[in-house]
């Protein structure tokens, strides 16, 4: 670009003095450098566009429509940004230099500056037109989102608590209802209608691969819908600050082929039998004689409290403690022994069982699939 200033001098006939190279090149260089440095991190990280808690990796129509809008806005905004920046940098490039005692150009007040005014007005009109396009695009996308059919939808009732998700699969036949926690399974290709309640404070239900978020507000009931069009496990997370363990209030949406979903649902509807294995029986006995029953429900036992997550099929879940831990024996034991160490401030007290007891308890819980 070294010849550009000379071209400009000839074109506009203005006196031009060299601006220090550092300043002239520095601003855009530094900007480009910092941009490139941070933007290369994106493809370098295995993430953006491929992740499982990722707004740019849509797995259903809701997220897909939003991703289309994002692409349009990104392109339009980037082009406008580049053009304005170019005009700005060009203005800096071509301007002659001055000092504090350089006489100010007072003729600017007498000159009508019609050419400049025309440019400013044109730029404003173009901006307004482009903004209008963006508004239309936004409204268009809104309507596309509303058009998703909800006939034959799966109905799920979500109640958010500090800091876990209570899920009830609604069914006109009460014996076919499923109550679980922190993990949603849905069949691929079938719309899901989610009714949202909050038990305590405001939370937000967000699974970016599938849809935008919706807040769960105490005293109000709201709804959102989504559909998964391909199989996979997608992670969601609470997206409204809800207290000290907001960071670990995640959930899974496991989209499965319809047959697999039916199998899962059938298993969830079954009552876990009383175990015959002595280790498991000992674990069950320990559970029923501890304070666990004050908060948790396990179908087929006398433990029927609903203050904490339903544990009837806890062994079948991918994670524990709303996404904070993987679901394996070691993690479960650590969680039961001292939940405050893993999620400080959460509502579950510690249970420091003897090692043999803990082994039995964990074995029984893991058997609840």
């Amino acid at each position: 670009m070294r010849f550009a200033p000379a071209l400009i001098v000839r074109r506009f006939g203005l006196p031009h003095r060299r601006i220090p190279a550092m300043t002239r090149a520095g601003l855009p260089a530094a900007a480009g450098l910092s941009w490139v440095a941070s933007a290369t991190a994106a493809p370098a990280s295995a993430g953006l566009g491929h992740g499982w808690q990722d707004a740019l990796n849509s797995a259903g129509p809701q997220a897909a429509h939003i991703q289309d809008l994002w692409r349009l806005m990104l392109w339009m905004c980037s082009i406008v940004f580049a053009l304005v920046l170019a005009a700005f940098l060009l203005a800096l490039w071509r301007a002659p230099r001055s000092r504090p005692d350089t006489a100010p150009d007072l003729e600017a007040k007498q000159r009508p500056e019609a050419g400049i005014r025309r440019t400013v007005v044109t730029a404003t009109v173009v901006s307004a037109a482009l903004l209008f396009v963006l508004i239309v695009a936004s409204v268009w996308t809104d309507r596309a989102l509303a058009r998703m059919s909800t006939s034959d939808a799966l109905h799920i009732d979500v109640t958010a608590h500090q800091w876990w998700w209570e899920l009830t699969y609604d069914d006109p036949d009460p014996s076919r209802q499923i109550t679980t926690a922190n993990e949603i399974h849905v069949p691929v290709g079938r719309p899901v209608l989610v009714t949202l309640h909050a038990d305590d404070v405001i939370h937000s239900f967000w699974v970016p691969n599938l849809a935008g978020k919706k807040d769960l507000i105490p005293g109000r009931t709201s709804q959102m819908q989504f559909r998964a069009d391909r199989a996979g496990v997608f992670r969601g997370q609470c997206a409204e600050f809800c207290g000290v363990q907001h960071a670990w209030m995640a959930f899974d949406v496991d989209a499965m082929p319809p047959a697999d979903y039916e199998a899962w649902a059938a298993a969830q509807r079954q009552t876990p039998p009383a175990p015959s294995d002595p280790l498991l029986a000992r674990g069950r006995q320990l559970f029923l004689s501890s304070t666990c029953v004050m908060c948790h429900n396990v179908a087929g036992t006398t433990a029927s409290a609903r203050k904490g997550p339903d544990l009837s099929h806890v062994g079948s879940r991918r994670t524990l403690a709303a996404g904070a831990l993987p679901n394996d024996a070691g993690s479960l034991a650590a969680w039961i022994r001292d939940p405050q160490k893993i999620k400080p401030g959460n509502n579950m007290p510690a249970h420091d069982f003897a090692p043999d007891d803990m082994k039995a308890l964990v074995a029984w819980l893991e058997s609840l699939k």
Binding site: W35, A37, S38, G51, D54, A95, P104, A128, V201, A239
Partner: protein, 648 residues
């Protein structure tokens, strides 16, 4: 009947004033000495400097809080800071920046500059000005004492109910936050009245509204926004305090209250709040660009209308903070449209600035560099703002790091960078010495690079699914790498601010001596010495132009300065609203300790009422006493005023 005692001679200023008259003016307008003088000081420059230092103090504290947050977030599952402390950190960071820094610092700069810019010896209501400063200081101090005692607020700077209500935030943490709001809103509202009256009534003769500098316009517009927006958060926080303290049910859905009521009231204030931070930044840009382009701004009327339009539209945007709630869909569409439309007046300003730069002759000194960075950073923030205005896209990126990126791009780019430019620009006026240009460039580049490295990755983090206000995160899909880069940028920012402080400290004693007008500026503050004398101008100038120092010389037969104002009393000239014609010449009050004592009494009332509602009743007594003593005229002052008196 005349109230004036004709026998007592009174010395008034000639044009130009004699050395005796100037000495008299200095004596009259200076702050008294000693510790009593320190609490009684009323000179607007004294209060302005205190205010500015306090606001920057809060900026540094808020920045250190953010540095701690960034260190915790640098790696997944980090254990540097636990969730309870982290929640206090981000609450204190947001609260400090939004309530204790961003708006107060703009008011602080205005308190010092606006009287000089409009050609006045003082700000309006100087005792109320002092009171507002003390209230601000005490409120901020209360909050930090609470934080230091580990009972700092932890429900976010926005304190959504029911989390911040009595059930889920027991103890006094949120009460300290809510009462801090009362302090800062009282201070802000009083300052707004002061600024409006100063601009409306104390302008030098000849400074018609058409000739008011753009920075002054931006502060006038901001003051009006304060008046209409801050009452909303005062109401919201008062209702929160009563819910927590005496059992009201404003936000309790079980008894007919509504959690969203808080959000409506808070954001009705909260959205104009960010424009109250942004618009003064626009004023800085509109001052620095013409000075360093050596030409008046292109399109002054359009610029003024753009400021007013932006302020007006800012009141119609607030629901865009609530798109994820179940407010009616049709309503959301309206707010999308207005949120996009507000870009238009800002765009007009950008085109006019570029036009000014395009046709100007540029002086690339540090103040201009900071303002040029504004163009880059604010523009990007505006683009992401348009994205957030679209409801569907907002539903993905709301409450994620995408918003954190956006808000820092617009606030840092739109306000902090221009503010740093303004400090480099006006430092010579405040202190008489220029800041180091070399250190300034290092400060600038480190800040620019550090800012972009810290905040650009957050756009990607938000799209990649990372929510806000989390004290840690799992090791997934590159979040760790992006967070680490962001932390590195944050540390660069810390270094750049440290460089700035070094530059300020050293330049005060060793900077190049500045003289009256080191930058060749056009506005009236450059017409007096650096720093200005206690009385600002030896004689008030008469104004004939928008750029008085460039083409404001009077023609043959026209007066150049105001004569006839008393030099032994704090007599000022009040002019008419539209055309700044001389109207009357009241006397401003003398230094007094009562604003300070009144602030102490008010502080006791406010802090006491966190603990018991009876503090409101009993606390009113010392407040009434101090305010009455403040008002009650002293015989000696009244006699002096009578000597100058002339009826209308």
């Amino acid at each position: 009947m005349t109230l004036r005692d004709a026998a007592a001679p009174v010395d008034v200023n000639d044009v130009p004033p004699s050395p005796d008259q100037v000495r008299s003016l200095v004596r009259t307008w200076s702050d008294p000495p000693g510790w009593l003088g320190w609490i009684s000081a009323l000179n607007h420059k004294t209060i302005g400097k205190r205010f500015l230092c306090t606001a920057f103090g809060f900026f540094i504290l808020g920045g250190l809080l953010a540095a701690a947050m960034r260190l915790q977030l640098a790696r997944p599952r980090n254990h540097l800071v636990g969730p309870d402390l982290y929640d206090q950190l981000f609450t204190m960071h947001g609260t400090t920046m939004m309530f204790l820094f961003a708006v107060p610092v703009m008011q602080a700069v205005s308190i010092y500059l606006v009287p000089l810019m409009v050609g006045s010896r003082t700000i309006a209501f100087p005792r109320m000005n002092a009171f507002a400063y003390w209230i601000y200081l005490f409120g901020g101090a209360m909050l930090y004492v609470a934080f230091a005692l580990d009972i700092g607020p932890d429900a976010g700077w926005f304190a959504y109910v029911p989390l911040s209500g009595p059930d889920y935030s027991p103890g006094k943490r949120v009460d300290f936050w809510a009462q801090m709001i009362t302090f800062t809103e009282l201070s802000g509202l009083l300052e707004a009245i002061i600024l409006i009256v100063t601009v409306f009534k104390l302008r030098a003769p000849g400074m018609t509204l058409n000739r008011v500098p753009l920075f002054t316009w931006s502060m006038l517009v901001t003051a009006f926004m304060v008046i209409f927006a801050m009452p909303s958060v005062m109401l919201a926080s008062t209702a929160l305090i009563t819910d927590r303290l005496v059992g009201t049910h404003f936000y309790n859905p079980a008894e007919g209250g509504d959690a969203l009521l808080w959000q409506h009231l808070f954001w009705f204030f909260g959205h104009p709040e960010v424009y109250m931070i942004f618009i003064p930044g626009l004023g800085f840009v509109s001052t620095i660009v013409p000075t360093f382009s050596r030409r008046p701004i292109h399109g002054y009327p359009a610029m003024v209308i753009a400021l007013i339009a932006t302020a007006f539209l800012a009141f119609g945007l607030w629901v865009h903070h609530m798109f994820a709630t179940n407010v009616p869909e049709l309503g959301k569409g309206f707010f999308t449209a207005v949120s996009m439309m507000i870009a238009i007046p800002t765009a007009v300003q950008i085109w006019c600035w570029i036009a000014t730069l395009w046709t100007g002759r540029l002086n690339f000194r540090t103040p201009l560099l900071f303002v040029l960075a504004f163009f880059f950073i604010l523009l990007m923030g505006g683009m992401t703002g348009l994205m957030l205005a679209a409801v569907p896209l907002d539903l993905q990126v709301h409450d994620t790091y995408f918003v954190v990126a956006h808000l820092h791009y617009v606030l840092f780019g739109g306000a902090v960078f221009p503010l740093f430019g303004a400090v480099y620009y006006w430092f010579p006026k405040y202190t008489g010495r220029l800041m180091s240009e070399k250190l300034g460039r290092w400060n600038f580049w480190l800040m620019f690079i550090g800012f972009n490295v810290a905040f650009f990755p957050m756009h990607l983090l938000g799209l990649a699914g990372m929510p806000r206000r989390v004290y840690t995160y799992p090791d997934m899909q590159g979040w760790g790498r992006l967070n680490a880069i962001s932390t590195a940028g944050a540390l660069l920012l810390v270094v750049s601010v440290a460089l700035f402080l070094v530059n300020v400290w050293r330049s005060r004693r060793h900077g190049e001596v500045a003289g009256n007008n080191p930058w060749g500026g056009a506005t009236l503050e450059w017409a007096t010495t650096s720093p200005p004398p206690a009385h600002n101008f030896d004689a008030i100038p008469v104004v004939y132009s928008r750029d008085p120092l460039w083409d404001g010389a009077p023609r043959e037969g026209q007066p150049s300065h105001v004569g006839g104002l008393a030099v032994g009393q704090r007599e000022v000239l009040v002019t008419t609203l539209l055309d700044a014609e001389p109207d009357h010449r009241p006397v401003m009050p003398n230094p007094s300790p009562w604003p300070f004592l009144g602030a102490i009494a008010t502080t006791i009332l406010f802090i006491g009422s966190i603990f018991t509602p009876w503090a409101v009743v009993w606390g009113m007594v010392p407040v009434a006493i101090t305010l009455t003593a403040w008002f009650w005229p002293r015989k000696r002052d009244a006699a002096a005023h009578l000597a100058l008196e002339q009826q209308p």
